[in-house]
Subunit: 210 residues, 2 copies
Amino acid sequence: MERSGLLVILSSPSGAGKSTLARRLMDWDPGLRFSVSATTRKPRPGEVEGEHYYFRSPEQFRAMVAAGEMLEHAEVFGNFYGTPRGPVEEAMRAGRDTLFDVDWQGGQQIRASSLGGHVISIFVLPPSLRELERRLVGRQQDAPEVIAARMRKSRDEISHWAEYDYVIVNDDLDRSAEALKTILRAERMRRARQVGLGPFVRALMEEESA
Amino acid sequence: MERSGLLVILSSPSGAGKSTLARRLMDWDPGLRFSVSATTRKPRPGEVEGEHYYFRSPEQFRAMVAAGEMLEHAEVFGNFYGTPRGPVEEAMRAGRDTLFDVDWQGGQQIRASSLGGHVISIFVLPPSLRELERRLVGRQQDAPEVIAARMRKSRDEISHWAEYDYVIVNDDLDRSAEALKTILRAERMRRARQVGLGPFVRALMEEESA
């Protein structure tokens, strides 16, 4: 059945397993498109154009905003970040869903955009904050003060849980990945998304009796 | 996670597999409650009180309506039919879902009731009307004019497909049963249904740092 693509917003505090879950979802459905943001900040070592970000000059970015080519955009610490509208609309028309790995601010902006009616939003909660801190410490990537800052950001992120359509408590990665797939499968069965249903029912009603 | 129960409305033209799908769903989740209607019509041979219907006198029925004990009710060919509110609310509070096997009119009334915010509605379409007629003829239960009347009722029922949240085209019973379960699983993960989330997040935020 022909259907229109969804905008799937996935948010969680860092360390709650969101990136792993996003990867599992992409593996499960190769048709799923991962939304890549545009930014005016400089690439960091290892960052690839079009994979991690679309790197644009401030002039290019402003021109895109002026031309209505950004679904949403925001300034963070003097740099601009935004979601190019074109690839999202193209995927939607092709019946492909787009996955947005964004924080609560990004989620709010995409919901408030002109494509907000096509959004489903999922928040992933950690089973405990102590467990989250333990995971961050366990990575051995960050200094204690960086971890403390991350934990403050985590609490801020969690405080927005009630803005999301679905909530998953990630106490088991396999179960959480299965839960994500279940949500996507069900949302794709919504009448309003199955744009092929109207023509299907019309043809059904026009069938001659046997 | 504690959650509030759902009101699951399942509708379809007769012969499209709805009863079989309802039974599969009940087998899958023994906690699911099948809604039994009250009626003033006389029991038919084999019909069991409390299983097929709650059989009530017109006086009893009117008293229930007057006392606000009916979630919805309607008169059909001089008999009253209605859904007692008590068992539905009791199931909801216990986190159990109630399954309503009703036609589009029953569906509209339950959606319009005070519990309408807890409703999810699913419409099962046959893959073709000719196939539906073939199934009805194949049962060898009904005279041709009865089948013709049923087919008219089927078209009337199908004409209301666009009032439902989800639509399943039942071209394979196993796949359709799986689709139904997927919808229920996903709907149970909706933030608004998981009434245990508020207390859970409060406790999470109050955790002491490790």
